[in-house]
Symmetry: C2
Subunit: 131 residues, 2 copies
DNA sequence: ATACTACTTGGAGTTAACTCCAAGTCAATA
DNA sequence: TATTGACTTGGAGTTAACTCCAAGTAGTAT
């Protein structure tokens, strides 16, 4: 699979994909004799993982560390588990923040909808209410 | 309330708070005769809102736009509602990504826990499994 | 064989959101 | 009054994560 195809599949740019490989967010990718990247299923799984983790803000640094441990073999199982648990803590914390922001947005929007519908501003200052 | 106290309450730095005011993420803050910031309840509500929105990745640009509309008065109710709805779409999309990353992390961690517990690597390559 | 296109590399540039800094001011204490 | 310490400003610097670029090469269509 070419770099272009992989990019379309995950909606990222070739530059990003090459960057991920360069810094070690994914292991080195399979190449043709000519040196052109030819992604295997395995390579693509790594890309999928990286894209997913990055989309939730897991730092590039952490992904690099994980790949490094993975390549060192079975002796790093516990270390990898710990790294993932650490990542999970961060992701969960962010998730909670997003949820509370959603709650706030929903509240504010409902107040605005109400004002628009009734044509009356039913609050002194939307911003100064607890929500 | 002093800048220091507000910072402690929201766990941010004075520099960040001054930056928010400077670029317009929050309206201009109340001052003492000497020119020192003295946050009112109203000011603090704005800070609370900004911190919450920023923690969910709502861009500074959008918050600035919102404050600007707010200061223009009641004629901008619909525009403000639209802005908030736009923000909500983004936040929800991010929330979904975080959730699917959590699912992936939970799956991977459980595989690792299993391997650690049994002492047996029950998969060829943790990364190459669908999850 | 000759274009043409898509790929390759290392390195420089960009962006958003802070974060730090130097120089100056003010209120309270010694 | 002199010093201290926290505050003020505008502007420069930093950081993470890309994103772009110039120069070169490989595979494909004419």
């Amino acid at each position: 699979m070419t770099i272009k195809e992989v990019c379309e599949q995950f909606d990222i740019t070739p530059d990003t994909l090459r960057y991920y490989e360069r810094v070690g967010v994914i292991p080195e990718v399979n190449r043709t004799k000519g040196g052109i990247r030819d992604y295997t299923e395995e390579d693509i799984k790594w890309v999928e993982n990286a894209v997913c983790m990055r989309s939730a803000g897991v730092p590039v640094e952490m992904l690099i560390e994980y790949v490094k441990l993975f390549q060192e073999g079975d002796g790093t199982i516990k270390a990898r588990r710990d790294l993932l648990v650490e990542a999970r803590v961060e992701v969960q914390a962010q998730l909670d923040k997003y949820q509370s922001t959603m709650d706030r947005l929903n509240y504010k929007i409902s107040r605005y909808e109400e004002a628009i519908k009734t044509g009356v501003l039913t609050w002194d200052n939307c911003e100064s209410k607890k929500n």
